[in-house]
């Protein structure tokens, strides 16, 4: 319970617009033999947000996703979907979830439409109009009556989205959805997910190892490593330490030694690097300190050519969180 409390407060700190919590992973644990693949992992998913599940290879992303959708059993913990436990009432909980687990696989000898009808019969309450609606939504009208074995990967991926949305779920869960897609396909997928998240308020959970992709798509990331929760961050605004609100800047000056002498006199400035040949000093400061620096340099006659902000990318952050030992 205590750990849960902590996660919740952390979420409210970082999430900008916090909708209703539609899915919570609570202390989910998976052991296989004596190996713990996922270890007391907890996080929430809110209405209308796209959350990325990040982690190095073997961190337990896929296992976590498969536990959420019930493909893999949990050793301990629970997943609660809109108040219903996936372990207590699977059929009710899963009705709120649409999923694409890795590349979506269909019956190749059937048409796209026949495949969708399979899932229509399994869910109930889906009429012919809804079938056509999702087909149109993913732009497969022209190919829906062709056999799936003639489909390209991109088309299968779109049919995958169609089957996931068919029963009007409030949560979409995607495991490595951009695997094997070309850049155009990835972009299409990304735009599409953003659209349904903002327009229909569907919460999306995506796992991927493509960091740049996650950076463009997600409003928040949950980072896990070796099955354990590492951190979660809101994206879009400042990526970095939210408490300090520091920025890293590069100053280009004519005399790095004198500039350094001035900077060390100021409080609360961290010197990160100095390159005399290039005339550059890298420092970490608060915004409010920058005019002071400019004043001091002006008074001392140090010529200041340039001030550049060093933006740390999600990749840098990620490597910091996960210790940078393992590649992604």
């Amino acid at each position: 319970m205590i750990a849960e409390e902590q996660v919740l407060t952390q979420t409210t700190d970082t999430a900008h617009k916090s909708g209703e919590v539609v899915l919570s992973v609570k202390q989910a644990t998976k052991k296989m033999g004596n190996k713990t693949i996922v270890d007391t992992l907890s996080f929430d998913l809110r209405q209308g947000e796209i959350v990325g599940l990040l982690g190095p290879n073997g961190a337990g992303k896929t296992t976590t996703i498969r536990m959420i959708v019930g493909l893999i059993g949990m050793t301990a913990g629970d997943v609660v979907v809109k108040g219903t436990s996936i372990r207590q009432d699977f059929a009710k909980a899963i009705a709120e979830i649409g999923g694409i687990i890795e590349n979506p696989e269909f019956y190749p000898y059937m048409t796209g439409n026949d495949n969708l009808k399979q899932y229509q019969r399994m869910s109930g309450g889906i009429d012919e109009a809804r079938l056509q609606e999702v087909t149109r939504l993913v732009g497969l009208e022209h190919a829906i009556h062709k056999r799936v074995k003639t489909y390209s990967l991109g088309m299968r991926q779109r049919l995958g989205i169609a089957q996931a949305l068919l029963h009007k779920p409030s949560i979409l869960i995607l495991d490595e959805p951009t695997n094997g897609l070309d850049p155009a396909g990835i972009r299409e997928m990304r735009d599409y997910l953003k659209q349904i998240a903002s327009e229909q308020g569907i919460a999306v959970l995506v796992s991927s190892h493509l960091l740049s992709e996650m950076e463009l798509m997600c409003s928040r990331v949950v980072v896990i490593q070796e099955g354990k929760f590492v951190t979660e961050r809101a994206l879009g605004a400042a990526v970095g330490e939210p408490d300090a609100m520091r920025v890293n800047i590069i100053l280009r000056v004519d005399d790095t030694e004198r500039a350094k002498a001035q900077l060390v006199q100021m409080e609360d400035i961290r010197l990160l690097g100095l390159s005399a040949e290039r005339g550059q000093i890298t420092i970490s400061v608060h915004d409010s300190d920058i005019p002071d620096i400019v004043n001091r340099f002006g008074n001392e006659g140090i010529r200041l050519y340039r001030i550049e902000e060093v933006k740390s990318s999600l990749e840098d952050e990620f490597l910091k969180w996960t210790g940078g030992k393992q590649h992604v």
């Binding site: 498969r66 959708v69 019930g70 493909l71 893999i72 059993g73 699977f90 059929a91 009710k92 899963i94 009705a95 979830i97 999923g99 687990i101 890795e102 590349n103 979506p104 696989e105 269909f106 019956y107 190749p108 000898y109 059937m110 026949d114 399979q118 899932y119 019969r121 399994m122 869910s123 109930g124 089957q163 029963h167």
Partner: protein, 253 residues
């Protein structure tokens, strides 16, 4: 209930939409046609070949019936295994349906498919045999033929259920067909080898064919129609329980 109808429809369509679906029926029809042709060409008119003889050959586990059982094993082997090899199991199990209802729908489809094969053989034998040798049933009853077909169906269901279990355990269509056929072929050998021991009475292989009781000859002393029916039921429950437990617990990775 209507949701189960939908699930069974799904399973049926998964078999029916395959181009190879009609091959099994075509093979049965071809085998019966060949049998009729050979019997007609090589039997002299006075030999007394009538429709009841044809129906016995069609519905016996040593005649066309054996082929029906083999085709049933081949046809249902992919029911669970193919979902794994195609990868469709991932999308199948994340629906608002419990795993047990999904597996139930698959088993119902296995029963239905096996029944259609038996019915098809029955109809082909009846029409073909009647056309070649006349529709005189020589004092037999139509109900008696239906009873023989029912026994063939039960015999086929025993092997289909066993193969269904193997399919769940191995997740491989090839292994399922192989093991299913192997057991079918070994049936008489196993019974012969163990015939000295009392345990032979309790083997599924000894009891699977209920048609032996039509003429009142139990294969071993102390066996009866009721006895064999009970043994078959017990084995089927055992196979299904094992299959359901494994399917329910399995992690789909």
């Amino acid at each position: 209930m209507s949701s189960m109808m939908g699930l069974v429809t799904n399973e049926w369509l998964k078999m029916f939409k395959k181009r190879s679906f009609f091959v099994a029926y075509a093979l049965i029809a071809a085998a019966i046609a060949l049998m009729l042709y050979v019997l007609h060409a090589f039997s002299s008119p006075g030999q007394g070949m009538f429709l009841p003889n044809i129906m016995t050959m069609v519905l016996s586990k040593n005649g066309i019936g054996q082929m029906v059982v083999v085709l049933a094993i081949v046809g249902i082997a992919g029911s669970v295994a193919k979902e794994h090899s195609l990868g469709t199991i991932k999308l199948l199990l994340i629906r608002s349906q419990t795993r047990s209802s999904i597996l139930t729908s698959k088993y119902i489809t296995v029963l239905l498919y096996t029944l259609t094969l038996c019915l098809f053989a029955f109809v082909c034998g009846w029409i073909g045999g009647g056309m070649v040798f006349g529709f005189d049933i020589q004092g037999h009853t139509f109900g008696g033929f239906l009873e023989s077909m029912l026994y063939l169906w039960i015999y086929a269901v025993v092997y289909a259920t066993l193969s269904f279990l193997v399919g769940i355990l191995t997740r491989s269509t090839g292994a399922t067909i192989g093991i299913g056929m192997f057991l079918l072929m070994m049936e008489s050998l196993i019974v012969t080898l163990l015939s000295r021991y009392d345990i032979v009475k309790y083997l599924i292989f000894t009891n699977a064919d209920l048609s032996v009781y039509v003429n009142g000859n139990p294969p071993f002393e102390g066996m009866s129609l009721a006895f064999s029916s009970t043994v078959i039921a017990a084995y089927l429950i055992l196979f299904l329980a094992a299959g359901f437990i494994v399917f329910q617990k399995r992690d789909v990775a």
